[in-house]
Symmetry: C3
Subunit: 373 residues, 3 copies
């Protein structure tokens, strides 16, 4: 059965570089490592590297799997803007929900959507919002007040919030909302010790940020599972969120567990048993490339079909949008071929579920306007 | 190779509803969630929901994958008893080992076996036995004495015992048997604080229950892995039982690790290295539906072939017996096709191992009479 | 595409028995259990047992999958030496890196390589080296001095070191190097309490051993994941090494995470984000047999292709060399067939990566001489 998908809603992604990158910088976006490759190895020799070499060269007029050097040369010939345009438009994404809290000279949501020929909304990263607040305001009372206003203002236009507490502390935070006094004391401690531009890693403040989003009612995205070596993977198991999920239940705030890998079956379980929990496998599909079908299949064991979302988690390189979309579509298409061929799923349901995962679930969850309206 | 299986021994299952259910109640048995589905989603949109729609409508004279409403309408036309009869007899199960400790107006073991045209034995749930004892007796001495007699009486006719300590506390219990004095003190505390019908969740008493079963010598089934949101999944990793397994070793009591998912590879490891440990993947196959082949394959990596057991963990709906049996048989049949086609397994061994998992291992472990005797 | 592999470099293996074994001893090498099989079961009824019966009988002139008794009879007819010669030479291994720290009347590295027609180097097991030092020297100062000299001497000829701290304590050791005073105190305690031949399980000394290897600069192999029931599997999750990996980073010592199963995706993540971490899936492929393709595929999700190594972890039976090599080659061949057929990998890259995993990565990491030189 040829799978017919609507334009994808990429519910978790980032801007791409406005210029460059050179060869080493390009390669650095192909890995979660923050160090140079081991002697004798290359970041292109990974599932993600091979996936980039498969899907991207043809969009720039080259043969799939041409050598990385040839590809980068062609990219330079075209210039960053033109290469970005061609790549984004070759990916099949129609809506971008952009987490704007990452550093670098990156396209903003509107710029990205214009280059890609789609629509964009913003996802506000809570730690970024708090750190920018702390940059501009001294004193814990001012910090707390201005942050609260900033969250309320952001909630008026943003599609959702995002937390990287997994990176800053791990997911084993005390699940309860901290009291106003605790927050003030923690803010005073943090602001006093903070070097210029310093990161927020205080667990009381991280909890305060999470609960500020919960009270907004907008969907709250939570990083879970693998990422760069800043995190400790075993502190990013989404099951560590179990008590927080229970505590949040009465507030009606949807929680979206991002990535999850290699704990994506744990995330799927949480989405299965808690009505307000959703899951995605964004980053995991791009990085596992030829294995994306297996990883997506594992996520589809327990996740209710109305609660799995597509994302690319693309960052820096438009190539990551291409890979995210193509790897997802191919993986989903194959699973559906196998499951309909065996009779396990009907063709009608398969088509319906594919559209939910590709776009429908995100449209419902983030209350996006219908396409074309 | 056409796989020829004997009638299945379902070594862990429950009664089915004597009447109803209505549409919402039916759907509630398709999920481990205890809440209504998220807005815009349906419990039928899951691997288990699709598996029910695949296997059950044809047994009631409908097309596979017909809409849920049509199926439920047909079920009402036939009436609960006739639908149950047709479904149970379409499943291929010959022997039911029924855990009778679940609430609801459910068929008992004999009634279930008569409807299904098979044989039944009872599995006694330890927590249920202790709670019923506490309902009828006041005072810790009486509770302890009557519970002990009840276990001894149950062991005369039951096929085995079952513990849901995973739900009540988690599997990280102190592995050692509590002393008589500790048990009395814990019983006094629990009975005094207990509301009518209250659950047993005291860790000392849970250990006492486990050890009462160990001393009986009958196989002891332990819930491990996923289940409803009453449990914390990370406290249900069967590896948490490692020290208990070691402590039990000298007593000759077989331990059967139920479900295990998503920790089924951990359960398989324990069955691999400890002679008195067995494993099943009951609940996991039904809930993962189209993915059951992959989950069963993972369980068959380390579990010795003489130590994996079939179960459905069916509860409430006869449909879950149908799905359990068909999903298992299809998954096993496909694995065996692949493994014999590649030469990894011989056809003779494949047939032999399939019969062990379907019935032989359970017959040996629970000392069931040979069929037809 | 027919996969063309160079002679394998087996970077982690052990000697084989110089005589015997009888039937029960043979079977005992097919399992990680240290007890007799459960009543009514056989260690041949496992994925490893079936893999032995598939690959080994043809090398001794019998039909694949002939009954175990027939195979063992043929083995006795040939005699241990001749059977060993035929089996080793049928495996395709060219270079053996032999961990010599296991008990039994086993072939040494040179003897093994001569029987197998290949080359051998030694991997020195740290705990074995320390225990032999303690056998010969009394007093903590002498122990510490002689052990240090022994490590320095070993580093001149060995290809690498190996630690089984996972077995002796678990991987959750304090990551930092203990001070000289701490080591002396721990050595005094251990030596005083030690029965003749007693094992080293003191966590301070285990850390001292690890850091002695780190300071040598040679690759350090670490047991992670499953093994015999001496270990607690949940203490062998390679993620427990995260802080040790970070602490070791500046020293330039490569860490090789062995086996990993069922945490091989965790090991792959560590190899992905830390430049000095490598991974293998040795023991896991042999024991999962018909499932080796799936396990290898999981390891190849995040492990950079320049950082995965082949090993058999063979011990006692030459059959385990045969199974290790054939199961690996078949699994890798099939993955590559699937991934090139779909266009995910190019044929050229597939061939190149296969050669890296089979031999090239180990040659680079252990600085082995080029073949034929």
């Amino acid at each position: 059965m040829p799978l017919v998908l609507p334009p994808l809603v990429d519910h978790h992604c980032h801007g791409v570089l406005r210029s460059g990158p050179d060869a080493a910088e390009f390669a650095s976006y192909l890995t979660e490592s923050d160090a140079p490759p081991a002697s004798g190895t290359s970041f292109f020799d990974t599932q993600l590297g091979f996936a980039v070499r498969r899907w991207c060269p043809p969009l720039l007029g080259l043969e799939a799997h041409c050598p990385p050097e040839r590809y980068l040369e062609r990219r330079r010939e075209l210039g960053t803007t033109e290469a970005t345009r061609r790549l984004l438009r070759g990916g099949g994404t129609g809506t971008y929900l952009v987490d704007t809290g990452l550093p670098g000279d990156l396209t903003g949501p509107t710029e990205l959507a214009e280059l890609g020929g789609g629509e964009a909304r913003t996802i506000v990263r809570l730690e970024w919002l708090a750190e920018r607040t702390a940059d501009a305001h001294t004193g814990p009372e001012a910090f707390v007040d201005v942050y609260e206003s900033a969250v309320i203002a952001a909630a008026r236009t943003a599609a959702g919030f995002k937390s990287i507490a997994a990176y800053r502390y791990g997911l084993g935070l005390d699940p309860e909302e901290p009291s106003a006094a605790e927050v003030l004391r923690a803010a005073a401690r943090w602001l006093q010790a903070r070097p210029p531009g310093g990161r927020l890693a205080d667990p009381v403040l991280l909890r305060h940020l999470l609960w500020s989003a919960v009270r907004s009612g907008l969907p709250l995205q939570l990083h879970t599972g693998f990422g760069d070596p800043d995190l400790c993977l075993d502190r990013c198991d989404p099951l560590l969120l179990t008590d927080f999920i229970r505590a949040v239940g009465p507030y009606g705030c949807p929680l979206v567990l991002l990535h999850g890998y290699p704990y994506h079956r744990h995330a799927a379980y949480l989405a299965h048993v808690f009505p307000h929990v959703y899951a995605d496998v964004g980053l995991a599909l791009s990085h596992t490339g030829a294995r994306a079908e297996a990883v997506l299949a594992e996520a589809l064991e327990l996740t209710p079909f109305g609660k799995l979302l597509y994302s690319s988690d693309a960052y820096g390189l438009p190539e990551l949008y291409v890979v995210g979309a193509h790897v997802f579509e191919e993986a989903l298409g194959r699973l559906i071929d196998v499951w309909t061929a065996s009779g396990a799923w009907s063709a009608y349901d398969a088509q319906r579920v594919a559209q939910l995962i590709a776009a429908g679930n995100a449209r419902r969850l983030y209350r996006l306007e219908p396409t074309g309206s």
